[in-house]
Symmetry: C3
Subunit: 132 residues, 3 copies
Amino acid sequence: MSLIKVKTTRRTSFVNITHLVKEEVRKSGVKSGLCLIYVPHTTCALFINEGADPDVIKDIAYMLEKLIPWDDRNYAHAEGNSAAHIRSSIIGNSRIVPIEGGELMLGTWESIFLAEFDGPRERKVIIKTMPC
Amino acid sequence: MSLIKVKTTRRTSFVNITHLVKEEVRKSGVKSGLCLIYVPHTTCALFINEGADPDVIKDIAYMLEKLIPWDDRNYAHAEGNSAAHIRSSIIGNSRIVPIEGGELMLGTWESIFLAEFDGPRERKVIIKTMPC
Amino acid sequence: MSLIKVKTTRRTSFVNITHLVKEEVRKSGVKSGLCLIYVPHTTCALFINEGADPDVIKDIAYMLEKLIPWDDRNYAHAEGNSAAHIRSSIIGNSRIVPIEGGELMLGTWESIFLAEFDGPRERKVIIKTMPC
């Protein structure tokens, strides 16, 4: 099990952590297995999608703000960050990727993103590899 | 593998099952590994988010009803519970949490919730721990 | 680890792949464990929901198009398939199912669906079983 630290710079930030996860897989020595990526923070989520064109994650952030706006007069939670909790709950706080030949089996266009919806903050991500 | 039973009391209910999952992890004796929580019902979902302030899950339920309303004249499914199936499919029917030192590595504010969107019902949740 | 190929016929297609996953579990010989189903394509997702009444997945597709429309003048991504990437990121590109007695522990009404949001295409799905 390893912990990586990720800093975000804005309220909504999507950080490509693929290289950090790959490094942990390499260090683990697991040749065939699974890699769990888990974020233990309730305003964060993890998702896997295109990392090549930055407009893709821009559009993901745009649509999440459109669907689940930061401000809504019916939110009850006093901290004012309900949108972050809702987005996190729907997207999910973990992803799992198969490992073969010592490498994550990511598709050609796939990158792993940490999403922070109530930053800027420093967050930790747990990475756990399992041989099988 | 263990099964836990969860009763819900309203159409939409979010039940904090963290203590039940922790108990199964303790009984399993797994010190380092993974815990899979899986709900085999198509109007349910599992999510992990803040359990301290009940207004957080209230806001999650509010937003899901706003985005995916119970009633929509274009739904085709004859049983009338399409919203429950849609919410379940988007959020997902499982979550996975790392185990270290014999404990779930949940963050300070994280709790595990069973979401039922077409209750009240008695539902089962499958818990499977894996050493690694 | 096995790869299965899935062909889609329309832009949005939900393909029931349950029988293909079951066949891989049977071939693996795993009696108790986990099955990871993973799609390495950024316009695809995997979800588990009702496979008996085809109107359920029809309603899921309807609501996704309503919430995250194919056309939106604010999308920045030049390929024109932002909706597919957004839906894929929110739903997720993997599912995990427990195995007991050599069988997937799917609920009575549960089927596993590959969702393609930018088809038609031929896609691959990775299936990895782990004893535990």
